[in-house]
Symmetry: C2
Subunit: 281 residues, 2 copies
């Protein structure tokens, strides 16, 4: 037996179709501004792939690049201008920022209504309080993948490995909103295999190649791999490929959750535009 491949490309394409449909209801296409500090090659490549998808969807985008030695005040002033600019629907500050900058203060400065990454405390609070808001792209992408392939969530035991603000914690909130039982494990968890073995749906978001092995997987589980690491230049997930022999569904890496994350950035931009302009979402 080999697990069914949860193809990220297919889900991203479907999301993009949905987005293009929604854009038609707007007088003016949404506009997304990326803020990048310095010339980190990974950041350049991430921003480029998001830009490419924005263009394909018919969203205006713009990249503002600050020099690597830009200071906190410069970045905050830029964000303040983008917040005030009514033409801008979404502001995305590409992480990680240089160490010298206070990442929390910068993310807190983005207008929550333009916060397409969903990292602002106001959006985090809305997420956990069951309210409408902009929510982080990787976890909303996971739910979208499951929905796309008709995989049930309600009453399933979802085990999430990793408790970051980007993936683990918001994924817990979203799975709870969909009535799953949720367990959150991390580096201080004592018996990780015993917990993972209970998962009907497993989310691994650690960034440690081969962390999840077939003996840790319950027969027929659904496995979503969000881990990302490089080994000799090759992209690796947290999940060892032979987990496919035990799981019923598995996201490939690459070609899985990452592609959907990028598409969710575009979807969030349209959601932000619809909410700000008083359209229906």
């Amino acid at each position: 037996m080999s697990a069914y491949r949860l193809d990220g490309r297919e889900v991203a394409d479907a999301l993009l179709d949905e987005v293009m449909e929604a854009i038609r209801s707007l007088d003016l296409p949404p506009k997304l501004v990326f803020v990048r500090v310095g010339d980190d090659p990974a950041s350049i490549s991430y921003v480029r792939s998001k830009e490419r998808l924005a263009r394909r969807a018919g969203i205006f985008s713009e990249v503002v690049v600050l020099p690597a030695d830009a200071d906190q005040q410069e970045l905050l002033s830029l964000i303040a201008r983008l917040n005030e600019n009514d033409r801008v629907d979404g502001v995305l500050v590409q992480l990680p920022l240089p160490d010298r900058l206070d990442e929390t203060a910068i993310l807190n400065a983005i207008d929550p209504e333009k916060d397409v990454d969903g990292f602002h405390p106001v959006n985090v609070g809305r997420l956990w309080s069951g309210q409408v808001g902009l929510f982080p792209c990787t976890p909303t992408g996971l739910i979208t993948i499951l929905d796309h392939f008709g995989i049930e969530i309600e009453s399933k035991h979802v085990v999430i490995v990793g408790r970051s603000n980007l993936v683990g914690k918001p994924a817990a909130a979203l799975f709870l909103r969909r009535h799953a039982t949720v367990s959150i494990a991390h580096s201080r968890t004592k018996d990780l295999p015993a917990l993972v073995r209970q998962a009907d749906i497993l989310v691994s978001a650690v960034g440690k190649a081969g962390l999840i092995t077939p003996d840790m997987i319950k027969q027929g589980a659904v496995v979503l791999d969000v881990g990302f690491s490089r080994d000799d230049g090759k992209i690796k997930g947290d999940v060892r490929p032979d987990v496919a022999e035990v799981a019923s569904y598995l996201t490939p890496m690459p070609g899985g959750t990452g592609l959907v994350t990028v598409a969710m950035v575009i979807k969030n931009t349209v959601t932000a535009a619809l909410l700000r302009r008083g359209g229906n979402d």
Copy 2:
């Protein structure tokens, strides 16, 4: 064997001593305003016990009572005035509100810096993002109880039954912040006993008398009972009293978590005053 009794009175007294010490560093004692709508007997009694404790701690408090038929706008105007009043450090709207009122909109209207219940999305977001803020009183009370009795949290498997905004979800955040492995169960959880049996620390916050029975408890587990229901006028917890024969520590009901919750309201008022007035917390 019988479980050690985690006496709420003892913890509440210690909290109050701490609070009185902190108040001494302020020029003017903190001021807390309770807002009550109508004459629900339970609400009257809750507000009265919080008032009593405030007085004992040396906090000024005031109760504003609106008539049972007060409308949304009246309540919002009152909150706006309390937000603007620099003398007021904390605002607590006693729940539940009459059905006709939009509870979410009202809680969202309280200045997050005066939100001593910790229900405002901004405080919820701060809680989940690892930032400083005002956090809900029952779950912070649970952590305080464990700390008071020297019970370790890090790397323990904490199982929380109930996913409310008041207890279950914020408790999950706080236990994660303290490096526990956290599982959240609720009414749609399939095999509750199997999950509860894994708990090193169990939090039950459902309100269903006798839900937790001794066969569901791992030998030596710590059991925190937050459930609350009335049976023939008698107060009952979620946890059956004979769980004491299996657990190592158990909160009594009444006399356990509830007393600490009330003391945490007072502590949050002092924290709010210190944060607002630029003192150190």
